[in-house]
Amino acid sequence: MKQILEQIPHRFPFLLVDRILERQVGVRVRAEKLITMGDPFLQGHFPGMPILPGVLMLEMLAQAAAFLEAEPLADRPVFLAQVADARFKASAVPGDRLELEVLPDASFGALQRVRGTIRCEGRVLCTARLVLAKGPAPEALP
């Protein structure tokens, strides 16, 4: 958990990675997120029918992708620059243990393109390609 907080700046209620299962910098990251009734976004999405919003699946993949980088990004934001070919094949509900997998695909300058997949008990829930833009280093900020 400490490793997660040191790597990315996200915090409650928007920290969407619980555990890193595998981290090979620049090669592959596998992480986990457990969905529970306590998750604040499930209160309104939807009352009486809690379903993880699809956009948050994309956000989970984006957060997991930050662990492909060797350098800690806790004080250096990473922005989503593009989402392509996003597919939501099944929904996630409380009790689901989601496995996030992110593989780098291409990079140019400050941009990194990754392919992400979310699975639950072997079923694929979501696949997408994301382009992430690393923000300026903290010393470069005014």
């Binding site: 620059a81 291409a106 140019f108 300058g109 941009l111 393109r113 382009v131 833009a133």
Partner: protein, 86 residues
């Protein structure tokens, strides 16, 4: 060289899905980014990949990449030069 420029224009249209454009509408010397064709940095990533896959020329340094990406002429020259070198 003019064949290569034509190919480069076709690749730009195809890879960046500029479906309402034809190669004739892209000027050899017009800036690709900002004014001119109006491409952005995400297009640059896609274009760098395209150049690598089609011509086997890797553009990994952003500095030299952006110089090559100035316009169609400079990109064709960069491809010709680096293909000859390999």
């Amino acid at each position: 060289m003019s064949d290569l420029k034509q190919q480069v224009k076709e690749m730009i249209i195809q890879r960046l899905k500029l479906e309402d454009m034809t190669p004739d509408q892209i000027d050899d010397e017009a800036p690709l980014f900002g004014e001119g064709l109006g491409l952005d940095s995400i297009d640059a990533l896609e274009l760098a990949l395209g150049v690598e896959q089609v011509y086997g020329v890797k553009i990994d340094n952003e500095g030299s990449g952006m110089k090559a990406f100035k316009n169609v002429s400079s990109l064709a020259a960069f491809i010709a030069e680096n293909q000859a070198a390999s």
